[in-house]
């Protein structure tokens, strides 16, 4: 296993370097082949490891790579750790990444800059693999920042677009706010535990519960402090409420990127971190309560916003944000295995939804606004069915007593049952918020489906479409990066109702090619069966997890013992959401407009994403620039220079004509004076020394 993990992790890096530096010399085809091939190899090597853990035949191990830093008592090395938790992440990352690589062959076919794109994708995969195989906190941070870099580069991939650049910087900087917490958490952990090795920390953590540490002059609970700081890092990466603002904007990146990074893998790094450090969090009750609370709050917040957006990718982005909330509150109540299970199934169905959306966007000539879709069911049937499976999975369709259901049914139900079964008030709150969010999830997911695939075509009203029709809708001639909608900026977007009578405008959408459809097919299998197959080991099998997470046997029993109404709540709310979506977007399409007219403020609040961006801009971004100018103009130039060097100069110039001559005189004179001064000083030293 040790050699295969080395290949899994470093082959993508090698491929990224080859494709990135080879770039135009190698050409599109070779770059694509190298990177995609590397990922399929990594994927093929990852599944046996995972299945080994499922079957109970594999054991965890650590493969050392290279010494990194040794400073005083602090030391950390490059090493690859493989245990159950890592194995789960390995299959998620390599599978989705390999499929996304393949999908991009079709999706990015028109792009002039393909080697760069594939190099970034493989680089991302490498960084993500380093993150999940980390044996110490610093290597985890390396992966953490590495995926951040790749995310920055990929969001800004179409770097000519100002909105893409802005989104890329925003993603990086907002993540850095979280990283501040993560870094402080690492420093604090070293101070308290004297080590950065994850196994050593986790072993010592229970004994450290209840201890105190000085922080900002106060004395606080050590474990709570450390876990909260680390969790701030997780909040940034996983786009939790407060630090979520970058994720919707990150949709500026090409759609395959959204599927890989901003749905299936990178954004789940925060959940992974909490699970990896679960014994530490178990020693920190306040921190765990915070995790639960933030998770539940994000879950409901993002779901509410998702119901109002028109951009198909933004709907799915908020949906991702919301689903991450589920994972966090599952972890918060102590059901780490369940959190990881939801992470696992979510990776499949959310990647499926994004790639499906990409296929729709591809068919609709880069139009992303759902108001200009409609009636696509018959035009792109394969994409439709893939999206259908994704929707059935995310809305959690399944019947408890029949023991059948799509992937999301198994994991989301388990999350809600764990929250309820936990038996605390906070757990109850999380359960009810989660159930409400599930209703909203069903509503916005079906809304997306109805607006896109049902009803009559509304394509004619779209600029992209009419442009395409005008050009003889030949996609291959379109060498410009797609102009993406930038919702949120355009006020007219708040028009609540699509133009239902617009018609096709003479446009003919066409189904995507095989390279895009094969990944959709494979992910559909995941969305259908991943829950059914793996619910057992993930939820019930303590031996499966081994030492890799904190496994709470009693909680799992409580989870299974919840009343029937709890078990059927997800199904019921799914049906309610489906009904309302059907009512408003198929039955009577005037309802949304009427609703908006009636609740104008509420709609504006939701549509504008609770005004987070506006508030942050006012209290952080603008003041930073304002302060910068003041520090510069008033601080440096107005005070320091004025009374410092300039003041000294003018005083000297007023006082002495000689100085004025020197001031205006030649440089040689200056240098001579300096030299003379030095010689005088040295002579003096020597004479002093002689005494």
């Amino acid at each position: 296993m040790s050699s295969s993990i080395l290949i899994i992790v470093f082959l993508p890096l090698l491929a990224a370097i080859v494709a990135g530096l080879g770039n135009r010399m190698l050409g599109n085809f070779v770059s694509k082949l190298v990177t995609t091939g590397a990922l399929f190899v990594a994927c093929a090597l990852s599944w046996p490891i995972f299945l080994g853990f499922v079957g109970g035949t594999a054991t965890s191990e650590v493969v050392p790579v290279l010494q990194w830093v040794q400073s005083g008592t602090m030391s950390f090395d490059w090493a690859l750790r493989v245990d159950t938790l890592t194995a789960v992440m390995l299959v998620v990352i390599t599978t989705v990444s390999a499929l996304v690589h393949l999908y991009s062959w079709g999706y990015m076919d028109e792009d002039p800059d393909q080697p760069r794109f594939f190099a970034y994708l493989s680089l991302f995969t490498f960084a993500m693999l380093m993150l999940v195989t980390a044996d110490n906190l610093v290597q985890m941070f390396f992966g953490w920042e590495g995926v951040g870099l790749a995310s920055y580069l990929l969001i800004g991939f179409w770097f000519k677009k100002p909105s893409a650049n802005a989104a890329a910087i925003k993603a990086f900087v907002v993540n850095r706010v979280g990283d501040l917490g993560f870094m402080l958490g690492i420093f604090g952990t070293f101070l308290v535990f004297g080590t950065l090795s994850i196994p050593e920390i986790l072993e010592a953590a229970p004994g450290m519960a209840g201890s105190t540490v000085g922080f900002f002059g106060a004395t606080v609970d050590t474990m709570d402090l450390l876990c909260i700081l680390l969790f701030i890092g997780a909040m940034g990466k996983s786009a939790q409420l407060g630090l979520h603002t970058w994720l919707p904007d990150a949709m500026e990146g090409p759609t395959p990127v959204s599927a890989l990074i901003h749905a299936a893998t990178m954004v789940t790094a925060g959940v992974f971190m909490v699970c990896r450090l679960s014994p530490m969090f178990e020693a920190a009750p306040t921190a765990l309560a915070l995790v639960t609370f933030v998770g539940a709050a994000t879950c409901i917040f993002a779901a509410t916003v998702g119901t109002t957006q028109w951009d198909i990718k933004r709907v799915i982005a908020y949906s991702t944000c919301s689903q991450l909330g589920y994972m966090f509150f599952a972890a918060g109540v102590g059901a780490y295995g369940v959190a990881m299970f939801h992470l696992f199934t979510h990776a499949f169905f959310k990647a499926l939804l994004f790639l499906g959306a990409g296929s729709v966007i591809h068919a609709m000539h880069h139009e992303q606004d759902m108001r200009y879709y409609g009636g696509l069911r018959k035009e792109i049937p394969f994409t439709f069915w893939a999206m259908m499976f994704g929707t059935l999975a995310i809305t959690g369709v399944g019947v408890y007593h029949l023991h059948v259901g799509f992937a999301g049914f198994w994991s989301k139900d388990a999350v809600l049952e764990a929250a309820f079964g936990r038996g605390t008030e906070l757990g109850q709150v999380a359960f009810f918020l989660g159930a409400l969010a599930a209703l909203l999830t069903s509503f916005y997911s079906w809304r997306l489906m109805f607006l896109t695939f049902w009803g009559k075509p509304r394509w004619a009203a779209s600029e992209h479409i009419s442009h395409a029709v005008h050009d003889g809708h030949d996609d291959s001639e379109d060498h410009n990066p797609p102009k993406q909608e930038d919702a949120g900026e355009d006020v007219t977007h708040s028009v609540p109702s699509p133009a239902y009578g617009a018609g096709t405008g003479g446009y003919h959408p066409h189904e995507s090619g095989l390279t895009m459809l094969i990944p959709l097919g494979i992910l559909s299998l995941g969305a259908i069966f991943a829950g059914q197959f793996f619910a057992g080991p993930f939820i019930d099998d303590a031996a499966f997890w081994g030492e890799s997470i904190f496994y709470n046997e009693n909680l799992v029993h409580a989870l299974h013992a919840v009343p029937y109404w709890v078990k059927y709540t997800p199904l019921v709310v799914m049906l309610v959401g489906l009904f309302f979506a059907w009512l408003a977007y198929l039955k009577d399409t005037t309802i949304p407009a009427t609703f908006v007219k009636q609740f104008r403020l509420l709609h504006a609040f939701l549509f504008n994403k609770w005004y987070f961006d506006e508030v942050y801009d006012k209290i952080f971004v603008k003041p930073a620039f304002w302060l910068g100018r003041k520090f510069w103009k008033i601080g440096d130039e107005g005070i320091i220079d004025r009374f410092g060097p300039n003041g000294a100069a003018s005083a000297v110039m007023r006082g002495s004509g000689v100085a004025r001559r020197v001031q205006s005189g030649s440089l040689n004179l200056y240098a001579l004076v300096m030299l003379a001064g030095l010689v005088a000083a040295i002579s003096w030293i020597i004479s002093q020394g002689a005494n």
């Binding site: 870099l149 000519k160 004994g207 178990e282 102590g334 029993h557 919840v562 100069a649 200056y670 030293i685």
Partner: protein, 513 residues
Amino acid sequence: MDGFPILSLMLLVPLVAAIACLLVDAKLARMIALVATLIDLALGVVLWLNFDIGGAQWQFTERQELFAGFSYALGIDGIALVLIALSVFLMPICILASWESITTRVGEYMAAFLIMELLMIGVFCAQDLFLFYIFFEAGLIPMYLIIGVWGGANRIYASYKFFLYTLLGSVLMLIAMLWMVNVAGTTDIPTLMQYDFAADAQTWLWLAFFASFAVKMPMWPVHTWLPDAHVQAPTAGSVILAGVLLKMGGYGFIRFSLPMFPDASAQFAMLIYVLSVIAVIATSLIALVQQDMKKLIAYSSVAHMAIVTVGLFAFNPQGLEGAMILMLSHGLVSGALFLCVGVIYDRLHTREIDRYGGLSINMPYYAVFFLLFTMASIGLPGTSGFVGEFLSLAGIWQVSAWVTAAATTGIILGAGYMLYLYRRVAFGTQRNEDAAAMPDLNAREWIMLAPIAAAVLWMGVYPESFLAPMRQDIAALDARLERVTPDYDSNATAGEGRPAANAMPHVEAGEAH
């Protein structure tokens, strides 16, 4: 290598070459300078390879008694070794950077740089207090001339400001040195590093040295000479200024202030923290609003060097080693960033950020290098910047959580101003035709940037190569500082242990199971 005066040879080579440069024409002067700096680089490699890690503290020592206790004494420990290596590594790159951009008085220019190299190496290997002083202060002169003669439009003001600030500090240091020699009766630096000055005397001595080193670092609020000097200096001047001259301040702290005046260092630690934290926040914000590329990088240097001072005064191995690595890293990275500015300045003759844009299109390889150095400046793990910042900040937490939290905000602001710069230069559309027509890196520029890129990654992935030579010296310094280590607000107390937060009683599987 026993007895072979390699350090003297490293001083002699640039001196001879400098004299030769003054006598020949421009073309030959360039060649002489390049060959001489490459010889010094080769000698530097020999020096490193022969340095006995874990051996004697002071190696390659040479001593020639001159007069009145003043001696020509050279010798290096691991700290000096890595800084000398940095100097000789950057020098040939500087000569290459000036290859085409300097056309007037080339011989004098090359001579100034070679003298500069001599003085820099001298500073790091001097073992006599006054020999150090001479090297330290004389370093002003060539840099002053480089800015004043070959600088930009406002060079007189900049060179004057540079001169005024730095000289002011050094006068006080000289007086302190004289006092020390009178009391301790020796000018030998290794001996002085073990000498215990009276505590109250230390206070004044520390402040006198601080005046000089703080200006060199530069620390807030005596930093305002740096942006002007950088803006006016030719590219290679900026590289040496940021790459090596600023490191003399940090070297001063670690060689003089900390070991010679440990009590005073502890006494004034809070002063250092406060000034550093102000520098991190204020100068980072200032960098955010700059329109001039060099000024932006200059301000970022102030912010980065503030993390160095914080690390130095953390009084533990992580802080000290982190500060040293960060100094090396900053020398490479900011030097490289100034070279990157120089590359496009040579083509368009402006440093104004808005005149560029979309350079990723016509200069893709340039954009890759620029991105790498931007990320190293931001402190991305895997680059040298991370190792330095991480260790420094981890070190200071052991003293004060406040200072750590405040200084760590630098990672957010740093990402802000550097990415904003990168976006305006390399991304976006090609707004200006002349900028869009600029060709990508030529062979000479590749040779300048590629070695630095390699070094940055090396230091990020395997910093052990650079930490190992210093380890013993840092440990010795740490032992000397142990007694005085301040303890502000980070006290940990062991806990009792309690049940897991989510521990719960067993619930029988109910009817639903």
